[in-house]
């Protein structure tokens, strides 16, 4: 059984650290993209963490199809209604997931979709009202089997 010299141990540790750094760098890029999309959607307003309810499972068994539901408490009348809703996922190859448009004819600002999540990450839903105000909700989803196809 060969014993490692101190130099070999340090080299091994450095190599492991370098290898481990790569996936984290990829995740960081999408976080920045997600933050940028949120900033652009909010258009100078600070999103308030209320009014929007984002429903996602705590643990997604299959990242290829994760059920998502979003609802915004709004009367959906011509005076007060949700115009746009943006869904962003900060750990996917592309952070933008969907952009929904409602109208008073929607009756309710609620929708359900099935999405792909590549890994454990935070999904954010932002709603914009006809008066420009922005609300949001966020959920962290743990993903056991990633679903972006690799």
């Amino acid at each position: 059984m060969q014993t490692f010299t101190r130099r070999q141990s340090l080299a091994l540790a450095a190599a492991l650290a370098a290898g481990a750094a790569l996936p984290r760098a990829a995740l960081a890029d999408t976080k920045a993209e997600a933050a940028e999309l949120i900033k652009r959607f909010a258009d100078g307003k600070e999103p308030m963490k209320s009014t929007v309810t984002l429903d996602l499972p705590e643990i997604a068994e299959n990242g290829n199809t994760v059920p998502l539901s979003v609802k915004v408490a709004s009367p959906m009348t011509a005076q007060s209604y949700v115009t746009d809703l943006l869904i962003v996922a900060d750990g996917n190859p592309n952070a933008k997931t969907a952009a929904l448009k409602f109208s008073p004819l929607s009756g309710k600002a609620e929708a359900s979709l099935r999405i792909r999540l590549a890994q454990t990450q935070t999904v954010t839903a932002l709603a914009k009202m006809n008066d420009g105000s922005v609300y949001m909700d966020q959920k962290v989803v743990k993903v056991t089997i990633g679903g972006c196809g690799g």
């Binding site: 190859p93 009756g107 929708a111 979709l113």
Partner: protein, 109 residues
């Protein structure tokens, strides 16, 4: 699997002013562009990127979809029914292939 085959579920009639739930499903692989084939070459992206629902010509609900939407996109939403009429549903993919469907709804007497 037949590509771009839509299925719609919504009530045949509603009371005036009633809000109905609409469920839609369409077959489509929603190729994200992330997968690689057996030779390691990336399979190009091909997804449905837009969904529109109108009632008697007026927009009810729209969605711009990205690669993170699962294969065979399922979209569920609501509509307030003030008159009898026709819902039209439109899906558009990256190659501008358009699929449409229609459903009529009557007002309860």
């Amino acid at each position: 699997m037949a590509e771009n085959k839509p299925r719609i579920k919504l009530p045949k009639e509603a009371g005036k002013g009633e809000i109905v739930q609409i469920k839609t499903l369409i077959t489509h692989p929603m190729e994200s562009g992330q997968r690689k084939d057996a030779d390691g070459k990336p399979i190009p992206r091909k997804i449905i990127n837009r969904f529109v629902c109108e009632f008697n010509g007026k927009p009810v609900f729209e969605a711009d979809l990205e690669t993170a939407i699962s294969a065979n996109p399922y979209i569920e939403f609501f509509a307030k029914v003030e008159d009898e009429g026709t819902f039209t549903f439109t899906w558009v993919d990256d190659d501008n292939v358009v699929t449409t469907a229609q459903e009529h709804i009557a007002l309860k007497a």
